[in-house]
């Protein structure tokens, strides 16, 4: 009896240790990933310095590595995606949280989940075969453009923005709404003056998360933006993003060229980590309020 008890205690300790190790693997993974990405990119960042970040020419076979066009490209498509995706996402979230009849909720929720689950390469394929020709015919340019990338990305970040904004709209205390209604405000006045301000930090967290997703998106973007390494001057110009630069050239890169691609990844990773920190800070603020 005593020995079986001790056996049980031992198993308990052992199991505890195993679970702790599992949990710790996430920490280990993040550290290893950060370490290897920055180490692999370091030679170029170290030797080229600012001319890597702010050089506007990328000629890998002449040993010229400037990623400014790609930084501008990433910012352009991300900004474009946000300017379409944020108003739409907010409207969708307000609809789901405040207006939608139960039937619409039952249709829209799974639809948004499906939208989030569709692989990015399918979005890219859709954009390439339908949206790009459409832009070429009705808007101008050759179709592969900042505009095409922005539209595709906007649809892709919509689920993130809608879901997170809806959750924060729903978590506003009922008393706020009731108080506003009791003062004679219309439903829209309540949404606009009470709910939106009260939910703002959650909504901003959703937008920043959508932004991080947009900057990191790869496959959909390379299939619709044309991938030219020049700074775009109009939304109908083709462009190349940081992510696109990596995946397009990795297959045949070697030596300094390969290190330059890793350095591109390190720059991208740095942006993403910053945005994630921002999300954590905002969410913490939201919890405190």
């Amino acid at each position: 009896m005593i020995s079986s008890n001790r056996m049980n205690k031992l198993t308990d300790h052992f199991v505890h240790a195993v679970f702790f190790a599992c949990a710790l693997s996430a920490v280990l993974a993040v550290l290893t990933i950060s370490f290897y990405i920055f180490i692999a990119g370091w030679p170029i960042i170290h030797s080229r310095g600012l001319s890597f970040l702010f050089g506007s020419h990328w000629y890998p076979n002449q040993d010229v590595f400037g990623i400014l066009p790609m930084i501008v490209g990433s910012i352009a498509v991300t900004f474009g995606a946000l300017s379409i995706g944020v108003p739409m996402g907010l409207a969708g979230a307000i609809f789901l949280a405040e207006l939608a009849p139960p039937l619409m909720i039952r249709i829209l929720r799974p639809a948004i989940e499906l939208l989030a689950g569709i692989p990015s390469v399918v979005y890219g394929f859709f954009g390439m075969t339908l949206l790009v020709p459409w832009i070429r015919v009705y808007v101008g340019g050759n179709g592969y453009s900042v505009l095409a990338g922005s539209i595709v990305l906007a649809v892709m970040i919509l689920p993130t923005i809608i879901t997170i904004s809806e959750t924060s709209l729903r978590s506003v205390p009922k008393e706020y709404k009731e108080g506003s209604a009791a003062l004679g405000a219309t439903h829209w006045q309540t949404i606009h003056r009470i709910l939106l301000p009260a939910a703002s930090s959650g909504i901003i967290a959703g937008i920043v998360l959508g932004m991080a997703r947009a900057i990191g998106e790869t496959m959909a973007i390379i299939m619709v933006t044309g991938n030219v390494t020049a700074i775009p001057t109009s939304i109908l110009d083709p462009t190349r993003t940081l992510t696109g630069n990596i995946v397009l050239e990795m297959a045949y890169a070697a030596g300094d060229h390969q290190a330059a691609l890793f350095a591109t990844g390190a720059v991208l990773f740095f942006f993403i980590l910053l945005l994630n920190l921002l999300v954590t800070a905002i969410s913490r603020q939201a919890v405190r309020n």
């Binding site: 996430a26 990933i33 692989p119 399918v122 990795m250 945005l275």
Partner: protein, 278 residues
């Protein structure tokens, strides 16, 4: 304009946006299926490709995809569930727990291309695994881990405290309670996480391209390179090899994702009805 008229206009806008969102999804699915279903056939899914995929089928690609995704889930699921058990059953608060939570969130936010770069420099080159199913699966496992941890944690949180108290009252210890009470009750929720991870791994392209390669040959062992369906779709479309076959491949992806979402929703509903009496 009075405030009621203004309200009517805004609500009209919200309704239209909701309907536009729905139409985008419908357009996307119908467009892919309308162009792809006609080239789907038994021959397409059972034959080997020839001329870079311009002709023939996608049989080795389906096998390669299943090996990649299956292996990644086999690696990620036990570790992810273990992590969730630790976070939910052992130490809910404290420095270690918040560090682990923070790391899991960070992992979830890392873009797939960065996972691809890491998998390439670490698994493919440093550990000398080469472009292979094993390199690809390990990279994918890291990517889907956060989903598994988060859903498993949610599922265990939904198990009523009274279950655990009942188990302790009968003299069971912590491990027995977890093994015989908490985990079995949380299975539908854990399954949802694994199913969603299947979908994520299935659709992943950039990371697979950099770690598993894009070989069209039938993989014989786990150290062979392989091409996944998503990578195949990308190569067919971007190199203009065959639009017809690209549409057929995209249809398979879209239908699988659709089925996965249905299954996940079904399980989720079962999970919430199971504990609704508490």
């Amino acid at each position: 304009m009075n405030r009621y008229a203004r309200q009517r206009i805004w609500f009209l806008v919200f309704w239209s946006v909701a309907l536009v969102t729905l139409s985008i999804l419908l357009l996307l699915i119908l467009y892919i299926l309308a162009n792809g279903l006609s080239s789907l056939s038994f021959e397409f899914v059972s034959a080997s490709p020839s001329r870079m995929g311009k002709e023939g089928g996608i049989y080795p690609i389906i096998i390669g995809t299943l090996m990649l995704v299956g292996l990644s889930l086999m690696l990620a699921a036990p570790i992810g569930i273990g992590a969730a058990v630790f976070l939910n059953e052992y130490v809910r608060q404290g420095a270690a727990t918040s560090l682990i939570r923070y790391a899991t969130e960070t992992l979830a936010g890392i873009p797939s291309i960065v996972f691809g770069l890491f998998g390439f420099v670490f698994f493919v080159i440093k550990l000398k695994m080469g472009w292979s199913i094993i390199s690809g699966a390990m990279t994918l496992a890291l990517m889907v881990m956060p989903t598994i941890v988060r859903t498993a944690e949610e599922a265990m949180k939904a198990v009523p405290l009274s279950y655990r108290e009942g188990s302790y009252a009968l003299g069971a210890n912590k491990w027995q309670t977890i093994r015989f009470v908490v985990l079995p009750s949380a299975i539908p929720g854990i399954a949802v996480g694994i199913i969603l991870s299947f979908g994520r791994a299935l659709g992943e392209t950039a990371a697979v391209l950099l770690t598993a390669g894009s070989s069209l040959n039938m993989p014989q062992t786990l150290s062979d390179p392989a091409r996944s369906l998503a990578v195949h779709l990308y190569i067919l479309a971007s190199e203009g090899i065959s639009m017809e076959r690209a549409f057929a491949t995209a249809s398979i992806l879209v239908m699988t994702i659709f089925a996965i979402n249905l299954l996940a929703n079904f399980l989720m509903r079962r999970m919430s009805s199971r504990f609704s009496q508490f």
